[in-house]
Amino acid sequence: MKGKKIFAGLGVAAALTFGAITFNSNAIADSARDYISVVGSSTVYPFATVVAEQFGKTAGFKTPKIESTGTGGGMKLFCSGVGVQHPDIANASRRMKKSECEMCDKNGVKDILEVKIGYDGIVLGASKKSSAMNITRKELFLALAANVPEASGAESLVPNPYKTWKDINPALPANKIEVLGPPPTSGTRDAFVELVMEKGGAEFGWIKALEKSDKKEDKDKFKSICHTIREDGAYIEAGENDNLIVQKLDANPKAFGIFGFSFLDQNGDKIQGTPVEGVVPTFEAIADGKYSVSRPLYFYVKKAHVDVIPGMKEFLKEFASEKAWGEDGYLSEKGLIPMPDDERKSFTKDVQTLKNLSCGDL
């Protein structure tokens, strides 16, 4: 008898849960969302979350929900349509692509506000225990590309022969080339390839000619030269977790690691930034543009949601306020490099007027 009762009880429970679910999801579809939903880049995530938390505690609205989906994944969600089931804001560690903007347009997301929030430096870090090594982007390209130009100067490629830094430039130490960095899915990797590898490759005249060429096949060749990272063990994919890279550098003083500036900022007692083109990655050097390896960070707002979701205007105001993204704002304490004054002013104005982004500008 006991078994029958248990089973009947379980049956009732399952039926009730099913009922509750159908009822619930109907109720949700009808009612509006009362919190802001943000998706996108894992690089912007640490900054957006600070603003969200501050906003949730002071403004009297619910704390926005922030998902770390990566820039591309975030754009896809953001552009999937208008309505409470779709996110309101997309964070991006690069500018929106034209194709993404067109996808938005096709799905009815026609009015978008673009806001730049500041800059992020990409740092080649090493352990404090090692002596600092001055390096150029060309040397980094030679150290990390899968195929490099022949040392003789001929315009052809050979599989990367360099084993130690000294092989590339006699002034550098005779340490094995060992660089820990993010995998291809990461936005940091995209930015590193664009800012270091492409620029480093373009130091060779004939590779630069490929980039400038009008022919598509030449451009593709340029990309394949600069974007293909060697896979013989000199570049070690260390996963998306920058903390892990920091710990590994601490254990191996001869290795280098590629990560965002905020990790250097937080771990200054263990890690030092390697000077690139003679400029040490410091807050000031990135802010005034002297340090070459830095990228802008953005977020994109669905204007159709601004009056629908409670707190949207206030959240934008909080993000674009001096106390958040200003010179001494709380975002700079988390490692975000603020924009120059006039740029900040212009974006603050964009936020106030909800300036429209047109796909043609991208």
């Binding site: 949700i28 929900k65 998902e67 770390s68 001494d328």
Partner: protein, 424 residues
């Protein structure tokens, strides 16, 4: 001499004993190796994480100045009342030598940025505090916390430290006066997520996991058990049931991210359920644990001896009476064990949650099945990826909490089995 059988046996005996001895040594080695790995895991997590259960607090005497707070009779004006100024004022009173704006900023950065909310909540609870001075222990900033716990070095050069020499001096003065101390970290067990390590807690993620697991249990156990009983006791053995069986076994081995994609396509896109809700998380986990429960339940039913079934049928019980009165009660402990182990696996899963938006920064503790929520393993992942040093110990502490839950659930499975198990 003629070789007899016993001679052959004796000749080989030494070799056989040696082989057995070797095998035993291999076994001991295997167990020792796994124990060492386990001990290594626990020790490294434990040593990294135990400090997170304590938090550095600074004692301030807070004067609830009516002039600064202004009108405090209404709830609305309370929200905007200048509590940060009250905290700042009491700090400056402790260090009267601090005058310049830059120094003041450095001084207030020793205190957690959440201090003013702390004071505000205190005031909301007891509005009679106005005009009074109270001694309050306020959480210190995570940089101070790391320094006091010895996770950052005091000896290195000033430029490489998060705290400069002046701030170190202030902290040393606080230490001398006994105004700074480590206390049990209740925030960690009661708060939701935060970007400030000193304000971050595990409770939001734990309740998200709880709601997800409730949905999973309520759906997967009844459906799984019903499916197992039908397949094992009622269904005819034919090609269809063979196909179903192969499919169930296959599903049990499908990588969990696939269930996440399925959840995204079906529950979110087709049924239009909310993103990041424990309800959807529970549904996806149900899909994932169902095959596990069905397989375990069928094994439990199979282990009930046929004599029990035959005896029941022999005295005139119907098929259904036989199953529900005799077979199911005997098989239930095994089914429960399977269910709990399946649930424990679901509790530690993150991959499917990524697709349905539960990998997110959520501060407010969820209070229902449709509130945005995250889960324990997701919280571990998010903290592990945060740049602040303070999150390192928080990550390990969160792993300890998750492990405690897993051990408790597995222990429950063992106890249930021991208690109800029948041997023949």
């Amino acid at each position: 001499m003629i070789e007899t059988n016993i001679d052959i046996v004796k000749k080989g005996l030494g070799k056989r004993y040696r082989a057995e001895k070797r095998f035993r040594i291999y076994g001991v080695c295997a167990i020792a190796a796994s124990l060492i790995f386990l001990a290594f895991l626990f020790i490294s997590i434990g040593t990294n994480g135990y400090t997170a259960f304590q938090q550095t607090f600074i004692r301030l005497s807070i004067y609830f100045d009516p002039e600064i707070l202004g009108d405090t009779t209404h709830r609305e004006s309370l929200a905007s009342a200048n509590f940060p100024a009250i905290v700042k004022q009491s700090l400056l009173k402790m260090f009267p030598e601090v005058q310049s704006r830059g120094e003041k900023k450095q001084l207030t950065s020793l205190i957690s940025s959440g201090a003013s909310y702390y004071i505000r909540d205190m005031f909301v609870e007891d509005p009679n505090l106005i005009g009074n001075t109270v001694q309050v222990w306020i959480p210190a900033d995570d940089d101070v916390d790391m320094l006091i716990k010895g996770h950052t070095e005091r000896g290195v050069e000033e430029a490489e430290r998060r705290l400069n020499n002046k701030q170190l001096g202030w902290i040393e003065k606080l230490e001398r006066d006994g105004n700074i101390e480590k206390r049990f970290n209740t925030i960690f067990f009661t708060a939701g997520d935060s970007r400030e390590p000193e304000l971050a807690g595990i409770w939001g993620a734990a309740s998200g996991s709880f709601f997800t697991m409730i949905v999973t249990l309520l759906l997967s156990f009844p459906i799984g058990v019903a499916a197992a009983i039908y397949l094992e006791e009622f269904a005819k053995k034919n090609r269809w049931t063979d196909i179903i069986e192969v499919n169930i076994n296959n599903l049990a081995a499908v990588p969990s991210i696939v269930f996440g994609l399925l959840g995204l396509a079906v529950f979110l896109n087709f049924f239009g359920m909310p993103r990041s809700a424990p309800l959807v998380g529970g549904l996806v986990m149900t899909l994932m644990t169902l095959p596990v429960i069905i397989i375990a339940s069928r094994a439990a039913l199979k282990s009930v001896p046929p004599s029990i079934r035959e005896a029941a049928l022999g005295v005139g019980a119907s098929q259904m009476q036989m199953v529900f009165h005799h077979v199911l009660p005997l098989a239930l402990p095994g089914m429960l064990t399977g269910a709990i182990i399946g649930m424990a696996r679901a509790l530690g899963e993150t991959a499917p949650l990524l697709m349905i938006g539960m990998v997110a920064f959520i501060v407010d503790v969820p209070s229902g099945f449709t509130d945005p929520a995250t889960a324990l393993p997701v919280q571990i992942f998010l903290w592990a990826d945060s740049p602040e040093r303070g999150f390192l110990e928080k990550t390990s502490a969160a792993i300890m909490v998750l492990l405690t839950f897993l051990i408790a659930m597995n222990a429950l499975a063992v106890i249930l089995r021991k208690k109800f198990e029948k041997r023949w």
